[in-house]
């Protein structure tokens, strides 16, 4: 249960909202540790949404949670993660004379750690407001 992907970190609305609530709060932490991969890659590596994996490269490593996206949302072989401390762990300080570290498109190793908790499928009771 190991594989290589190319990581493209970026902004997301959830990450932005989390940022406003506070970077030291749970929500931000949760958002920035979610790794989005294509359904095909997940299947190939035997991963499911909610699984915990270790992603690493020659710079550093970090633990994140997998989210598998349906076909076409993200190309096979690539993974997306919102900006945050976990993605920073993998950035190289080399900027090739621009000041901008290569923050998109680094190769990472993905390694399975443990199964995620099964999501409760039961819907919460309807409130009066619907």
């Amino acid at each position: 249960m190991k594989g290589q992907l190319i990581l493209i970190p970026g902004r997301s609305a959830k990450q932005g909202v989390g940022l406003n609530k506070g970077k030291l709060k749970d929500e931000y932490q949760k958002v920035t540790t979610t790794l989005e991969v294509s359904f095909e890659d997940a299947a190939r590596m035997g991963l499911e949404t909610g699984d915990h994996v270790k992603i690493s490269n020659n710079i550093g490593e970090t633990n994140v949670t997998v989210k598998a996206l349906r076909e076409g949302k993200i190309p096979e072989g690539y993974a997306f993660i919102p900006y945050g401390p976990p993605s920073s762990c993998l950035f190289d300080g080399e900027t090739c004379g621009t000041g901008m570290p290569a923050s998109k498109g680094m190769t990472i190793d993905v390694e399975f750690i443990k199964k995620g908790e099964k999501k409760k499928t039961k819907l919460p009771p309807r409130t009066a407001a619907g």
């Binding site: 609305a13 932005g16 506070g22 993200i74 300080g93 900027t95 000041g99």
Partner: protein
Amino acid sequence: MSAVSKDNTIVNEKIVENATCTFCGCCCDDITLTVDMDKKVVTKAKDACVLGKSWFLNHVIEDKPIARIAGKEVPLDDAIDEAAKILIEAKFPILYGMSDTICEAQRQCAPIMDDCLGTIDTTTSVCHGPSGMAFQGVGEPSMTLGEVKNRADFVMYWGGNPAEAHPRHFARYAVTPEGMFTPNGKDDRTVVICDVRHTKTAGVADIFLQVKPGKDFELLWMLRAACKGVEIPDNCKEICGIDKETVTDLFEKMKNCTYGVIFFGMGLTMSRGRHFNSGALMALATDLNEFTHFVAKPARGHGNVTGADNVVAWQTGYPFGVNFSRGHPRFNPGEFTTVDTLTRGEADAALIIASDPVANFPKPAIDHITSEKCKLISIDTKNTPTSEAAHVSIQTSTYGINTGGTVYRMDDVPISLRPAFDSPFPSDLEVLTKLRKKVNKLAKKLNRPYATKKYI
């Protein structure tokens, strides 16, 4: 103004009309805020997007010390004195950040570094810094956002995800609004999205182009060649992932529109090629002016990062990555940009204003800035990993909510803020003005010999 709340207690309510949200570079200035003046919170932010709502509604006056040195609470002036001393004594002081504060505060920053013979850099260097460099190389045809609303019949987003990063960009400026010469809104426009991922933004597209990651430059250059009459190559799909017919059709649409615009994001500036990518896009927009009116614009991120660019540029001549160690500004991205000065372990003091490198920077840079070798000073409105790691940490009030001032929208249009309620924390402007004075005083005392010779 008074009103009755749900549980029948009188609340002291205030309405702020035409407030500006400074979360992203859209700087929407049409927000109506409802403020509970007793509790000091914004209770409603009418017309704000999901990011704007969370920006306003989550803002609370926290109970925390204004100034700390090594974690201990101290009077503000002591913290400023300590910060000034650190900066003036440092061999290689750097100042970084500035994107989330007003221009009036930003204007204090370069003079501080001028006195310390230090280095000033803004978050631009890890955002659209490469676009700034490309601009220096090729220029850029551009516009204010109202022109897009009034005229653009061809709108393209390249390597950006405004649906998530600038949620109101579509509705307020570029896709749906009904303008002077676009009376039918979206029906009068062709909307094209080019990205490596099928993002939320892709949903609004008339045409979605999923370019191979890292192949933006190739596609841009094909289009530039097309402007000069070169046919799109047959192996186009192999090269960039999009077939020849689609690219040819895209080029025809670009050529034949009346007013075309491309917004581009960090998909271009952060990938391999960086400033070559943004440069190719700006050059393409320039080339297209042979056929029609065509413009391009980077979709800038944080509230006032555009202001930071402008202020540093008018004070020093360069937009970011400026060093004063020889007694005049010098610009060299890769040398004086913050990721580099930290990664190489050069900076021995860092003044971080309204930004969070400890959370966002590459690991080697974080390792240095949090180490003993670099004295860290933080001026920020929120607790962040940077403020927590700082030796001197000063908490300030939030721009656009607690303090007024000027911000620049992503299209360089300056907008004045309308604050909602006071804060017990000092403003960035107050803190930085004091720091500037203090540093200036210490510098005068040092009476350093200033350079008068050119090294070119």
